[in-house]
């Protein structure tokens, strides 16, 4: 069996696993589910994960434009990680990116391909301030 087939089976199985015979796990994290997967299967993979997400919180990390093309801003949440002069900014996608996706100007995958998928700077700054406040309170 190929790696791609194993992952194509393993990813939905992991997302739909049960704690006991009735209860779904609360959270499943999957790193780069697109690895070794045929790009054309990205839609089917996301469909199965969305089905799993009705009972389980599913957290994905991905570098795949094909997978991101399936992103639906109305039902999915997305955090963007972006390398910036030696540091990594993580935050919700900036309002321009979200608006471009919602207006069908670009898909999330197309924005990633042209390096225009950016984290919201204001949200990143608020996070930094929050982290700084927390450190100050602890010290």
């Amino acid at each position: 069996m190929t790696d791609g087939t194993l992952r194509a089976i393993g990813t939905p199985v992991a997302a739909m696993q049960l704690v006991d015979r009735k209860t779904s796990v609360r959270l499943v994290g999957i790193e780069d589910p697109e690895t070794a997967l045929h790009p054309a299967a990205a839609g089917a993979l996301m469909d199965s994960l969305r089905e799993a997400a009705e009972k389980t919180q599913v957290l994905l990390t991905s570098h795949s434009p094909d997978l991101l093309d399936q992103f639906n801003p109305d039902s999915d949440d997305m955090l963007v990680a972006h390398s910036n002069q030696g540091s990594t900014d993580i935050g919700p996608a900036d309002p321009v990116s979200i608006e471009s996706i919602k207006s069908h100007l670009y898909s999330a995958g197309e924005l990633l391909r042209i390096d225009q998928l950016q984290p919201d700077k204001d949200a990143s700054e608020r996070q930094s301030e929050l982290a700084f406040d927390t450190v100050e309170e602890q010290s």
């Binding site: 321009v96 608006e99 471009s100 100007l105 670009y106 042209i114 390096d115 225009q116």
Partner: protein
């Protein structure tokens, strides 16, 4: 127009890092402008898509650039499209690209610049320029 905000559309990976620096140096060191903000990173699209507006690539890129410029109040805002001339005629392609770029975006200033490599001898321009 001493305050300027620029969103750029380029064709190459090299331009993504170099064009913002070049614009800042031109603005501060050559023009002596007060303030410039270059939206980073530039929007990069393959030259063929931009030069032919294939699948409305140029129109879409300009719309995205306009969204990134946003409301600019007292700062002059402009969208700069910069590609190499290559074998095209700059005098024909630039106005055509400008027409595509301004399609539906009359609210923003747009400039299309086609860069030409001059021959090493310096006195003879690119063949495409001579035909203009």
């Amino acid at each position: 127009m001493s305050r300027l905000k620029v969103a750029t559309i380029v064709e190459g990976h090299g331009e993504v890092s170099s064009v913002p620096i070049l614009l800042e140096r031109l603005w501060y060191e050559l023009i002596g402008g007060e303030y410039i903000e270059v939206v980073r990173p530039p929007i990069r699209q393959p030259r063929d898509k931009l030069a032919k507006n294939k699948d409305d690539a140029l129109v879409d890129a300009v719309n995205l650039a306009a969204a990134k410029l946003g409301a600019t109040d007292d700062t002059h805002a402009i969208i700069l499209v910069l590609i190499d001339t290559n074998s095209d005629q700059a005098c024909k392609l630039a106005p055509q690209m400008l027409e595509w770029a301004q399609y539906g975006r009359r609210d923003k200033d747009v400039a299309c610049v086609l860069a030409t490599i001059w021959e090493a001898h310096g006195h003879r321009g690119n063949r495409s320029l001579r035909r203009c």
